[in-house]
């Protein structure tokens, strides 16, 4: 049996005396699309920051493909094949779309800190960047500065930069946040296509997106996972309904 792609073992995180994550254990299989849902302030983003190395864990351990990555720096975790996006768009605003993607591609192709290669001469980098741009549908925007793209385009670029290095495990933080319905539909298709053959963990507020995309769902409430299971199991779970889903569905119904 192969090791899970991402595994959290009894992870705790506190800021000062405030416990934000209180003993989360989670196992995501290779190739699984896993969604984490939960009310605001449940600790979803903190959990992401712990997995991707942005914050150190207070206790517990995190494993990537059977390897302990607890305490590694973000760039070390990225090099091991885990890449993340951000809830608030976090791209290189003063660079063009093409250059943004190129930044994501470079390390994985082994050019590292090279100051003896001419960037424009790197055919492989160019080819990979073209591929990614086509995938995220921004090939026509290649020469534009990232800062002047529309919001939906920036979100797509955010995903592009995340997947450019070819990481096997992807964390997407609210990929459809703030999008219109049609934009959301396109974003869902994009996420589906780019995670083909990869492991995905995503945080998402839009329940339509979650139930559409996810193979399994975990519900995080006050820093604890109260349920993990297939979409239909989660939908039927009474404590989940009480804590989270019920209220949200009612609101959706009125909208």
């Amino acid at each position: 049996m192969t090791a899970p792609a991402i595994e959290l073992r009894d992870v705790h995180k506190s800021f000062g005396s405030t416990l934000i994550i209180q003993g989360v254990s989670l196992s995501v299989a290779q190739g699984e699309r896993h969604a984490i849902i939960g009310p605001n302030g449940a600790g979803k983003s903190t959990l992401y920051n712990l997995i991707s190395g942005r914050f150190p864990v207070s206790a517990g351990s995190i494993w990537l493909n059977g390897e302990d990555i607890t305490g590694l720096k973000p760039y070390e975790i990225n090099r091991k094949g885990l890449s993340r996006s951000f809830q608030v768009t976090n791209i290189f605003h003063n660079m063009t779309v093409y250059e943004n993607i190129r930044c994501g591609v470079l390390w994985s192709l082994g050019y590292r800190y090279s100051f003896w290669h001419r960037m424009n001469g790197l055919a492989e980098v160019r080819r990979r960047a073209e591929e990614v741009m086509e995938k995220i549908g921004l090939e026509k925007r290649r020469g534009m500065l990232a800062g002047v793209l529309t919001y939906a385009e920036q979100r797509a670029l955010e995903i592009g930069v995340t997947i450019a290095g070819g990481a096997g495990a992807i964390l997407l933080d609210e990929p459809t946040a703030g999008m219109s319905r049609s934009e959301t539909a396109r974003a869902v298709e994009l996420v589906r296509s780019i995670t083909e053959g990869r492991t995905l963990i995503m945080v998402e507020h839009d329940m339509g997106v979650v139930f559409d995309l996810a193979d399994r769902i975990s519900v995080l409430v006050y820093g604890e996972i109260i349920a993990t299971g297939k979409p239909e199991e989660i939908r039927a779970n009474p404590s989940v309904q009480e804590a989270y889903l019920g209220g949200l569905h009612k609101k959706d119904g009125h909208a």
Partner: protein, 422 residues
């Protein structure tokens, strides 16, 4: 398709570099007097220094207050190497001496950079300032190596001529500096086009995201620092050859501040900005200081004006005009520009008059009589104060109106350009 699309850009690049080389070649034949030649030589060395500084500030977002450490220590190593070469101990031809400076700069870049680049932002700036002060203090504390207050002097004419060149005459030194300057310019430009150079920009713009695409931002900063220190050292080696003396001034905070000023005035967002900045800076430092003791004040005011009104430096002011010229609408700006220029000159004349009179009055044992364009006046009398005061006041008011006119015209042209693009 691709070759068609890209060939004009490459051609432009060839013209640009060819033109630069040509300027280096013919400059001493246009400005023929020895004073101008001294200035050109200093400009060449300073251009390398400022470009290397911009590898930190403009390209990697690292504000250093101690860059003179690397050029200065490079210069010290070069001067010792030169003295050893003169004794016949070290077989090194003079034209390669800047390499000694460069490698010294690089080694100190590794040592000090390891400490400074662990942090970015304000902390980096503070540590760089601290290291600058430390090295300057050392320069005065260890006269054996640094030569104390007097510094270490040398003679660049050593041994047998190199390819028939003795490097005694100033013109030969100029061409040596020019050759190194051109080489370093090309090398530093090439560096901006490498993976490290591009990732340095990424670290500058968004260090957090850079970490999440696999890059250790600290290591990127460190490598940029080491490379920049190498070029700073080369510049130090050249100034050692040019001045034949290296003193504590070479590692001083004044010099570190100077390169910051020059680089910023030229324009840190652009590769060629520091080149323009160096030329202007050397004119201030070398030429203007011969005319007036208030040159530093003028430089300071100029710097202030740039920070406030043109944070992209002279380079950005130049580049802003290109789309307007391309659209053949520069003519609409000619009159407003001319008016603004006249108003600025008027205000400047008033300012200079007042500043110079103040200097005359505050200094003991200096005549208070000044002569400008055949007009002699006494700083103790009221008339010149009134004249210069009116010039300054009237100039500033006129400048306000002219600037508004420029702004309006600029706005309509930009709107027109955008309308056409959309």
């Amino acid at each position: 398709m691709d070759t068609l699309k890209f060939s004009p850009i490459n051609l432009g690049r060839w013209i640009l570099w060819g033109g630069t080389a040509l300027v280096f070649l013919v400059a001493p034949h246009i400005f023929t007097n020895s004073f101008a030649l001294t200035m050109l030589t200093q400009m060449g060395a300073f251009i390398i220094f400022a470009l290397s500084y911009n590898m930190l500030l403009g390209q990697s977002g690292m504000l250093s207050f101690g860059h003179a450490v690397y050029s200065g220590l490079g210069a010290y190593m070069a001067v010792h190497a030169l003295n050893l070469a003169a004794k016949g101990v070290l077989p090194i031809p003079l034209p390669l001496l800047p390499l000694v400076g460069g490698f010294a700069g690089l080694i100190f870049g590794v040592i000090f950079g390891y400490v400074t680049t662990r942090k970015s932002g304000t902390t980096f700036a503070m540590i760089s300032l601290g290291i600058g002060e430390m090295v300057f203090a050392c320069a005065l504390m260890f006269p054996g190596f640094f030569g104390g207050e007097a510094g270490i002097s040398t003679n660049r004419v050593i041994g047998k001529p190199f390819l028939g060149l003795t490097f005694g005459p100033a013109l030969q030194v100029y061409y040596l500096v020019a050759a190194w300057c051109f080489l370093c310019m090309a090398a530093m430009f090439a560096l901006t086009q490498t993976p490290l150079g591009r990732m340095a920009n990424a670290v500058r713009d968004n260090p957090e995201r850079t970490e999440f695409v696999g890059y250790n931002t600290q290591h990127v900063r460190f490598l940029q620092m080491v490379l920049a220190s190498f070029f700073a050292g080369v510049s130090g080696g050249l100034s050692c050859i040019n001045f034949e003396i290296v003193s504590a001034e070479n590692v001083s905070a004044i010099r570190s501040g100077g390169v910051l000023l020059a680089t910023f005035i030229g324009g840190i967002p652009f590769f060629f900005g520091p080149i323009i900045g160096s030329v202007v800076f050397i004119i201030f430092v070398v030429a203007l200081s011969g005319f007036t003791k208030a040159w530093l004040l003028y430089l300071g005011l100029f710097f202030l004006a740039m920070v406030l009104y043109a944070p992209g430096g002279l380079a950005s002011l130049l580049l802003m005009q290109i789309p307007v010229i391309r659209a053949r609408r520069f003519g609409e700006l000619a009159v407003p520009y001319l008016l603004a220029g006249c108003a600025a000159l008027m205000a400047l004349a008033g300012l200079i008059g007042i500043v110079e009179m103040v200097y005359r009055l505050s200094e003991q044992g200096v005549s208070t009589v000044l002569t400008v364009l055949g007009w002699s006046f006494d700083a103790n009398s009221a008339a010149p104060w009134a004249v210069f005061g009116l010039l300054l006041g009237g100039g500033l008011v006129a400048l306000r109106y002219a600037a508004r006119l420029v702004g309006e015209r600029w706005g309509t042209i930009q709107a027109g350009l955008q309308g056409r693009a959309a």
